[in-house]
Symmetry: C2
Subunit: 337 residues, 2 copies
């Protein structure tokens, strides 16, 4: 009923071991043999049994994607990364499992250990903000589990993928400056996330480069949520000297800012320019549509997984790939009145 490796071997007139070699792209098989075996596999629609491979070969062909489900970033961001990781895993015939890992709460490491001993993933993909949680990284190294990170803060010899968020933030603030804005506010994301730090740094860099002294009142803490954007904006709009533009550290907060602008009777972009970061689907649905930074999350998930898989399969060590951003200029920003 099921086609086994042995059946393919018989059909191709080679030993099972040779079929195994072809299956695993090992060396020391002549092209002629390789092709004969490949043809037989194809003809018989052979599908290796993952458990058998895993048991005999002592590897699981499994990649686990870890995320924090306390402080999780916008779930659409994670969903996109997940999609990308999945795509890469599929292409390499690996399977993927997702693991929420509550960082608060002490049994974090125990749960991680359970993941390893229960499922034996060959490698792990880390997503923000757990890319930089030191105890986890330590444990990963101790257990000798290879991993790749999406947007890690520390850039040591980590493999994975990043975007130059600081430069992107700077670019978007420069866009506002170019429109004549001077009183530009910034709404920060959750404090210890790399994303928040880089975006703030980019804002400061652009302002400083334009020779504008930092006004503390113009920088307000948010928490990456719509609601926190509303709050932050209300704070800004109650100021004697309101900003003429607000750069929020993500689109959800930017949407909140636009919402609050409505409350205060400020028309976007006529009275206030607003921009965000991430280019979530939401940003295009708003009216006016949001000027933002397109971060290719799906692609980033894919790249991180590819770096990991490459390293797993011994194709070099894997790198920290930097992907380009795109400044999406849309209707929510305009020249200062």
């Amino acid at each position: 009923m099921r086609v086994r490796l042995e059946d393919v071997a018989r059909a191709a007139n080679v030993s099972p071991k040779t079929v195994s070699r072809v299956l695993n792209d090992e060396a020391n098989v002549t092209d002629a043999t390789r092709q004969r075996v490949r043809a037989a596999m194809e003809a018989m629609d052979y599908r290796p049994h993952p458990s058998a491979r895993s048991l005999a070969g002592n590897r699981s062909f499994l990649v686990a994607m870890l995320y924090d489900n306390n402080d999780n970033p916008a779930s659409t961001y994670l969903a996109e990364i997940q999609d990308g990781v999945l795509e890469a895993c599929d292409a390499h015939r690996y399977s993927m499992m997702v693991r929420p890992l509550r960082m608060r709460g002490g049994d974090f490491i125990r749960r991680f250990d359970a993941l390893i001993s229960d499922h034996h993933p060959d490698g792990v993909v880390l997503t923000p903000p757990i890319t930089d949680y030191a105890p986890l990284l330590k444990r990963l190294r101790e257990s000798n589990v290879p991993y790749a990170s999406v947007s890690p803060q520390r850039r040591g010899k980590v493999i994975g993928v990043t975007m130059d968020e600081q430069r992107a933030a700077r670019a978007i603030v420069e866009h506002l400056l170019g429109l004549g804005h001077r009183r530009i506010a910034h709404v920060i994301g959750i404090a210890d996330h790399g994303a928040s730090r880089w975006r703030l740094a980019g804002y400061r860099e652009a302002m400083a480069a334009a020779g504008l002294p930092e006004d503390p009142a113009m920088v307000v803490q948010g928490a990456f949520t719509f609601g926190s954007g509303v709050e932050a904006a209300r704070q800004l709009f109650s100021l004697a000297e309101r900003p003429t533009a607000v750069f929020a550290a993500n689109d959800d907060m930017a949407t909140g800012v636009m919402w609050a602008a409505g409350e205060y009777g400020l028309k976007v972009p006529h009275d206030l320019s607003v921009c965000g970061f991430d280019d979530t689907p939401l940003s295009r649905q708003l009216w006016p549509a949001l000027t933002t930074i397109q971060q290719p999350s799906r692609e980033m998930g894919k790249i991180a997984a590819e770096q990991l898989l490459g390293a797993l399969r011994g194709h070099g060590a894997g790198q920290l790939v930097q992907v380009p951003f795109v400044l999406q200029i849309r209707g929510s920003t305009a020249a200062v009145p």
Copy 2:
């Protein structure tokens, strides 16, 4: 290094097969033996090797969660279901994999077959809208793969979980009626989704029960997105006789309606009551917070998975469980002026 079943057997002074029986909760083991074995497992922190179990036992301990990534519903909804499914799988020591399955495009069935022959899931969880895609259901039955559905439209002998969405929709419209509203509009979701149909049916039922004739202008097509809510609302607000309340088929569209209300200078809830459906995190962050129906998505994912797992483990056939909804009355609805 790794603790194997054989080691546990030796420690408990029984045969490996007996340990296996305890591991799998099989019958015909005396309580004394069972406890001795359990104690040994505990003491040695024994973790069965999933691949070995799977290979020998001809089952994968794997549940696949299928979703459509074309027309996907709000990604937060899927993320919550995924979380619930994962929780149930973890509790039963099953693993879970997620599979996007593009319904448009002809190779749908082929991709499904590949999933089965590559990964051999013991069962499958179906999420809207693919709970009712006939070719898939047919193939699932042919391949003899057990499945459970989240909010299926057809209620035959399907197992899984539902919520009485029609009654919930009726309840929310009755809430509006109770506040004195008569011109109540409805924004429909994507046409062929069960969710859209039930919510529309509940709306009609409530209106009819209140003796109000249906006004076609009050029922507008949307597509479950924020943007479609904005569009629909603009259409409603341009009417000579505006609605005093809008019931949108989900929270994203309701948010869009509130947005558009701002554009038209309508204050919510003073000039317009708005309500949604789903109780997404967004709905609490809005100002005013949204009156909506709390649909326990996470819980529903968990229940669907539990029904599936129960059936897989032979604890009866599994049922179609109906979960209760909660009408969350918040600031976005008020008495008609």
